[in-house]
Symmetry: D2
Subunit: 122 residues, 4 copies
Amino acid sequence: MPNATDTLESLREALASFASERDWDQFHNPKNLAMALAGEVGELVEHFQWLTFDEARALPAGTRDEVALEAADVLLYLVRLCDKLGIDLADAARRKLAINAQRYPVDKSQGSAAKYDKLPQR
Amino acid sequence: MPNATDTLESLREALASFASERDWDQFHNPKNLAMALAGEVGELVEHFQWLTFDEARALPAGTRDEVALEAADVLLYLVRLCDKLGIDLADAARRKLAINAQRYPVDKSQGSAAKYDKLPQR
Amino acid sequence: MPNATDTLESLREALASFASERDWDQFHNPKNLAMALAGEVGELVEHFQWLTFDEARALPAGTRDEVALEAADVLLYLVRLCDKLGIDLADAARRKLAINAQRYPVDKSQGSAAKYDKLPQR
Amino acid sequence: MPNATDTLESLREALASFASERDWDQFHNPKNLAMALAGEVGELVEHFQWLTFDEARALPAGTRDEVALEAADVLLYLVRLCDKLGIDLADAARRKLAINAQRYPVDKSQGSAAKYDKLPQR
């Protein structure tokens, strides 16, 4: 049974209240939010830049927790951006999953990192 | 009432199956996923780079749909990254919201875009 | 008369020595350097995320200096990345300028932010 | 002997003329240019996201040329951004190199990817 607070919709509402209480809607133009998103992803990427694959897979607990909070920042700005644009993020995610299922048929994309437009035609 | 498919947990599961069916776990190292996330955010940002604030607020329907699917890509890679790291993204989001509530008290941060460590001390 | 230390080539050499003296070539794989570049650009973008256009045009001196050093970081990693890939960055820049001159004829792109493949055909 | 066209100053001038001829200064606000920079770095990163370290070191010629032109895009926007901000990029790069030399003494940072504030104190 899904936890109500685990939904994107509940997160969207919490963020809208948070911004409204602080009179932050004036700053939350989609252009600004897209930049904030890019900034947070930059911080997340920095954690991995010098790591080997093995190290990236097995982060020390402290680093993992820092990464978790950076990932949260990315999510919060993403949800907020979509809210300000009137985009239903959960719906978009479902639609994109369906598109990906079409673009990457199981048999053709098996064990391949090729982009869909580079997949072998059969 | 939240839709079960609107939860981050259901998305995590769908993506894990998607990758497993295609034998893609070999590519989904956290380092790679962090890069993929950065790439998708770059694509999202590009949509806004030459826009005024008014234009960013009122995207044409076609652009808005492209942005929705870019936002979905960001979410999908973010969820996948957290899954591979054993991070509970919904929990991290809740924790970060609580941290933000502490860092940005309503009275001190009213109408201010200042970072928490630059807020006026009272 | 150009200053010799103002060239990309002199910068490339300085960075190669810097890394070699510290035994850092082991970390400077192109994949890692591309990530480091993304991280630095994220830091640069953060400076601008909440600013109006007027504010972005007229940064306070302190902020401008911080931005200058972030821009330097971006350049240093970019030059280093190209060096490790055997890419002649100055030559690539000249080639890209020539491509852009072709893609954006002065008369067609006058006062337009449209991407070249969306420019009006005449 | 440095080629005059290899300097950041000559590149700055070429880009200023390019923009002026097309009446593009109206779009080249620092905020917009920072976003364009983020977008281009995203494209560059995408080339490396699924590669192993060995693959990243030995790009096929075609991919390497694509990466070269993406790197050029990053440089062009970076030079343009600095120009619009009145930042001397070559000078900033020299200053940052000097800062890095202080932060990362050869003996302490030998073979270590640790950030300067995590280096062992001796």
